[in-house]
Symmetry: C2
Subunit: 346 residues, 2 copies
DNA sequence: CTGAAAGCGCTTACAG
DNA sequence: CTGAAAGCGCTTACAG
């Protein structure tokens, strides 16, 4: 690689000090500098196609204009959509984004954080896996600016931006009930993460408030082992037998994707045989036999707000911001009110 | 942020020079160094939780162990899947990935490349937009290591890893013909990019080799304006009228996603009314009324190979590698052979 | 076996 | 209005 031109090259060509070149190209103390000299410097810089070495700049200024993004898996549509929004927002402030996937593993998450910090990112956006409290507490202790996205820990006083999970699911279940569904199953992950816990809680509260007795068998909490097989089995279990559920709530897009496939495989009609609600939008829902009612996450707001909070934190603004944004229930055909046999029998 | 511990801190505490500390922590000249001193240095480093400042290291060594990834849009499943594979492969060699989305725009692509280079990435992985030849030629002139992914330019002697687009589509069309389809429509983008040109060429050649006359109206080349509306119109045009096509080939996952929705809207049965083949896998295809036959891109091989080639190029290996990888035609129900009325009429 | 010193490419307080 | 000099945190050729 041919050596890039440096401040020194320009200084020598113009016959001035690097100090002056630096000031001019950074538009500093510009009113004190001889106009002709400044113009000459700019001209030479242009002709040599000067590009500042950010690394050198960073070493001196202790700022890299780089953000670290730790998601669960960048190939998941939720993560990649968020990544795109963060990229755009960061770009507005001349920041670039380094990313990594933790695969919901504590160790990978820790390794990523360390790597990103060694690369001197100015701050971190993190979707932390279950049990990440100690890692995050350590970051806090070190005074490193970070914002959690999608997930957070109630015991940790950190910046975060997440969905109002409780409210979103509550609304969805209420909508199902209002549409005449009473036997509502929930397929979710088995995890202590507040995100999923709140979703379950929203479901339970909505049932309770509507005086619908809660049945343990209606809630399927899946491990992170063989998701596809587990979802398929859960769907079969819930929709088969003498008293199948009449509605199904999926607590994530991955769960919904596999669950809907299983409903296809079982030749269930939606919503005639069973109503369906999912969380997270996915292009895929549009290809299903029936358009799916879903809870739309405010991804744009989430990504932009998280980035803004982080940039503020980097600027030593020490307020803590915690945001639980409202989801939007997008009602489509999969939760249409159905004349129920059970009603006809009454 | 509390100041991080530096080499100097360790040196002072142990009572040696930073030179020695640097050697020990980098396992250099280790056989010449006093074992006890080395052990002491390691111990202190550990106790202070020393983390080297990569920025300082980079400035000196001129290596950042960072790769720049320029995709069209990180939120597109094709890009994000590739990003994930590249991330994992890069991580194997202790590299981290900076990413950016060009949105198929020359100017954004150029700006991204400049930004990434200013951040001193060791090399670039680029999915270039149409017309990027001059940008890339300039990179070549500067001796900057890079590898193109998914797209490339025949006139440019650069590293690239892409699909054998011609072969993949040829195989798909042959498969359609073998299944009894004769009136095959192609929906693609209007672009000079070889990727899409080869796809069209594969389609045309397969028809020709099978002595099926080529009809211009069967090929819809869409601009990048309002994709969804254009796809829907193209699908309607091709499947309506006195002589509709009996099979439809989508040249990208986005096209397929919208096209399939339109087939749903038009109440067309697949494959009874019309057969469908798409390129790129997408989870979505599984939710469609009929599982879709598609050309599976070898994403894993593509991402890994591209990363390996780039890392080799960074190590001053000057061979140029150009790879057109084979796609795999995954045959499913959407191209099942159908008893055709037209055949019955014979 | 060990260390003083130069230098990577910048920024910036200070002096004139 | 301008420049010499120090320094960011490392690495490494060189000398002893």
């Amino acid at each position: 690689m041919t050596r890039k031109t440096s401040l020194k090259d320009i200084a020598q060509l113009v016959g001035v000090s690097t100090t002056l070149v630096s000031y001019v190209l950074n538009n500093q103390k510009i009113n004190r500098i001889n106009k002709q000299v400044a113009e000459k410097i700019r001209e030479v810089a242009r002709s040599l196609n000067y590009q500042p070495n950010q690394i050198a700049k960073s070493l001196k200024t202790n700022k890299t204009f780089t953000l670290g993004l730790v998601v669960s898996d960048i190939s998941n549509p939720f993560s990649s959509s968020l990544a795109r929004i963060i990229e755009d927002e960061a770009d507005t402030y001349n920041y670039t984004v380094l990313f990594g996937s933790s695969d919901e593993k504590l160790q990978k998450s820790q390794k990523l954080i360390t790597t990103l910090l060694n690369r001197q990112v100015d701050g971190l956006l993190i979707a932390p896996p279950e049990g990440a409290e100690p890692q995050l507490a350590e970051l806090q202790r070190q005074g490193i600016p970070f914002v959690l996205i999608d997930r957070y820990f109630p015991d940790l006083k950190t910046n975060y931006v997440a969905l109002d999970n409780y409210g979103a699911i509550y609304t969805a279940v209420q909508h199902l009930i209002d549409s005449g569904y009473q036997r509502i199953g929930l397929i979710t992950f088995q995890t202590s993460l507040i995100t999923l816990q709140d979703r379950k809680q929203g479901y339970l509260s909505a049932l309770k408030d509507n005086h619908i007795p809660i049945r343990k068998t209606w809630v399927k909490e899946l491990g992170i082992g063989s998701i596809e097989a587990d979802v398929r089995k859960a769907v079969s279990d819930l929709t088969t037998g003498p008293k199948p559920v009449d509605a199904l709530l999926f607590a994530s897009n991955t769960l919904a994707l596999y669950g809907l496939q299983q409903l296809n495989a079982l030749h269930r009609s939606v919503p005639e045989d069973i109503a369906v609600v999912s969380i997270d939008q996915a292009e895929a829902y549009n290809l299903f036999q029936t358009p799916i009612t879903y809870i739309k996450q405010p991804l744009l707001e989430m990504g932009q707000l998280a980035t803004k909070i982080l940039l503020n934190a980097i600027k030593k603004n020490n307020t803590i911001t915690q945001a639980n944004l409202e989801g939007e229930l997008v009602i489509r055909d999969s939760t249409r009110a159905i004349e129920k046999e059970i009603m006809l029998m009454n």
